[in-house]
Symmetry: C2
Subunit: 537 residues, 2 copies
Amino acid sequence: MSSKSEQKNLKASVAPAEPSGNPFDRRSFLVGAAAGAASLALPGWISATEDVFASATGLTGFDDDLSAIRAEITKRHDETVQRMQTWMKQPSIAAENRGMNEGCELAMQMLRDAGFQQVTKIPTDGQPGIFATLDAGAPKTLGLYFMYDVKQVDPSEWSSPPWEARIVDKPGFGKVVVGRGAVNQKGPESTFLAALHAIRGAGRKLPVNFVFVAEGEEEIGSPHFAQVVHRPEVLAALKKTVGIFMPFASQDPDGKVTAFLGAKGVVELELVSSGEKWGRGPKADIHSSNKARLDSPAWHLVKALNTLVSADGNDPAIAGFADKARPISAQEKAMVAEAARRLDEKALMKQMGVEHWVHDVSFEESLELLVSKPTVNIEGLVGGYTGPGGKTILPHRAMAKMDMRLVPDMTAADALAALKAHLAKNGFGDIEVNMTGGYDPTTTPADAAVVRAEHAVYKRNGIDPIVMPRLAGSWPGYVFTGDPLRLPAGHFGLGHGSGAHAPNEYYVIESSNPKVQGIDGAVMSYVEYLYEVARTA
Amino acid sequence: MSSKSEQKNLKASVAPAEPSGNPFDRRSFLVGAAAGAASLALPGWISATEDVFASATGLTGFDDDLSAIRAEITKRHDETVQRMQTWMKQPSIAAENRGMNEGCELAMQMLRDAGFQQVTKIPTDGQPGIFATLDAGAPKTLGLYFMYDVKQVDPSEWSSPPWEARIVDKPGFGKVVVGRGAVNQKGPESTFLAALHAIRGAGRKLPVNFVFVAEGEEEIGSPHFAQVVHRPEVLAALKKTVGIFMPFASQDPDGKVTAFLGAKGVVELELVSSGEKWGRGPKADIHSSNKARLDSPAWHLVKALNTLVSADGNDPAIAGFADKARPISAQEKAMVAEAARRLDEKALMKQMGVEHWVHDVSFEESLELLVSKPTVNIEGLVGGYTGPGGKTILPHRAMAKMDMRLVPDMTAADALAALKAHLAKNGFGDIEVNMTGGYDPTTTPADAAVVRAEHAVYKRNGIDPIVMPRLAGSWPGYVFTGDPLRLPAGHFGLGHGSGAHAPNEYYVIESSNPKVQGIDGAVMSYVEYLYEVARTA
């Protein structure tokens, strides 16, 4: 989302997600979570899933299908790993316009290899998207969302080269692949494609048809993804789907899963105060002794920022900003209350490195805020001299990098307009508001077929997911859940990985923890999901 | 000046000084200044000075002295240039601890070569200082202040390599030397030493004795200079002097000179808001979705900054900050009024790139503010993500780099204490206040002998200097003018250069403008000054 991927941070709603370079592991916060709740002994899917599934579905042939496919997954393990490594070895960084054409072509070829009959590059005003279809002659059609770009890297920070996709032993996890895109998102995406290869390799028909859309700008905020989705032929195809999903390694290090029924919207923007636009103060950095006779664009920015939030910095004070914010519902409050019961507040705070929630609220209230509170955040401040020590200048320009998180029924356009109007009304109309990314909130009903299918597979694998009303982070699901499609959309998949945007990003290939699936188990979770969608949707 | 040199910005009091990298020429603001005032046709000193001087002093032998010395200066022109180049070619950057020992040793050797009988390296807690004496058997002793360090460079920004000290033709100026230290301060300093060589080379006795002190940390705020000056043997020697001066290229591109009777004091500091110290918010950068439940150290900083100045950012609002500020006196107001009459406001504003003074005051009021108004300035803001686009983090730390300018009788210690007390009282006691440099204001009486000698030489050279009560910038003259020495101190010298702290710093060697002295004329101005001090002090 916006200038960075956030669906790799789907856990961020209850756990802190690591920013790039921060070793904090967003996935491990659930370690130590209330052990009494939901920690049923997990059956490995290999031993138990088929029988459970077969008895649950009662559908002829599925038993045989799953057995044969499982065998095929095992047989194709090395092929699956190699396909993933091939993809990971191709840098495709939209922010640097690096390897994008090669990355797009490679993704298209992988789709063709997986059985997509129609694969089309869709030009946009930025990097191209991909539209593809696979007609299996099935009654149901499922939508798929991929990204083929990855985040930037600083190779000096990595323990193994980011484009080598090296398989290493990671203590406590097993064999993992290390490289950019391992978990965000090439690893889970290629794992999903392996499910199609396994089903077809086992001589079985795919249980659903597919309509596929991908973008190459997810890591820079999906600025042109709507241009892909809103093409008439793409809209027409997507309208036939029962919903959209993105392959995702959803397991925490202890195997647990948190599921989200949507995500906050976001607006990322820069507020820029400058002498040029203000018409006061200098138009270039000038010696700081001149402060005595000249206005300061940096002070002007501070004074403007000061009006945007309450005295403690926690409550948005932008007039009209949250007028359309829908209060948390009774059903959502119940979900949050259950999550608060099942999560371990102390362990979470310790792992986040925090001692207080805002206003010193309770854990349950903190989770309510997380899912329901619109926010105005400073991502960064930069202006004038930023190096070591000081430099006696009066800067002509200063900037705040901001994000605003939105809940239904707020929109990115409304939030931006409210901010601009607020600044103008308070004497800061000269301050530039440059939106760099963002989109509306995403909401998917709990009873949508694709959601029920996800939860059915989790439960069949012994996982009772914590369900949260929405992710506090953001992803561009609004293109699916908003007008004109109004489709359910979400993420799904077993398996584990971490380090999205950080050095040493990894994805588990062979798990040493029986509660966490390796890549073969992750492939099988997609197989189960497709059969479940076919059965349920 | 604190973490940067400011005496190279002596003109900053009426003109904007360029920050590093800014091509704006602080010296050229006087171009176009009221042509009717003080623009007497300048006699070149070679043709007129001696006679004028001789008739002014009426002292036997000076005539002959000056003639012989002038000839010696011409004879030694190449030697003077080479000495300067040798010094400039030795990098000596305290901020990078680069070449400091070599730079110190070279400066000491140059002093010995110039006739100083005693040259001692003075250790400090930082880079060493230098204490040297030259006993010429003269009745009067003059103090000298040098710096042997220079500002950092980015060689890629230079048109000729910064350590090559290349002589180039600069249209409108003549032959100039280009390199780091050219004007700040190795050029004028080596030019001064050339005056001693010329006097001795002409077989004349030096008209005054010298007590010399130098530091190697001027560009990082002179943090240990007082350790040099306050050594008992140094204090004892300095007490015998009639005052202190630093060689300085004081001419603007049009030949005019502005003189200052002191300088504002300065405190440079960093205000740091962090989750660690606050005990609220994160202790490491965390995903920005957490703003809904976590306090923000960046907002905390904004709220603290907001309390430091008035709503328009122009008036300090730190309680007690300026309690001891002495109002501008009638005499000072008169100086400012004359400066306002002689300077061209429109040309100045154009060259500074500004359209309004604070509060839209008149030019005269703007100059009054410049010399008499204490200030609180933001030099820089830095925190969280500062790169291109955005990054969805809630930063654990944000910093404002600040400077506060002080007028008599404020002190750096009082200002710092007032800021800390103000923050504590307003709920921001957790915000770190890290002073990185600074010192008290400097004041020298207009009737001090060393000042009268400066002005006498300027006038004898046809220059009627604009005299300002003080420089709005700062230099560490407080160690001389404050307790226990209470000596007059200032800068002097003809000649022109610019680009201190910027790329392509230069100093005029052979001037193509008859109103601006080249290096030989600058050497002669020091000769005249020494004779004038001997006569006057």
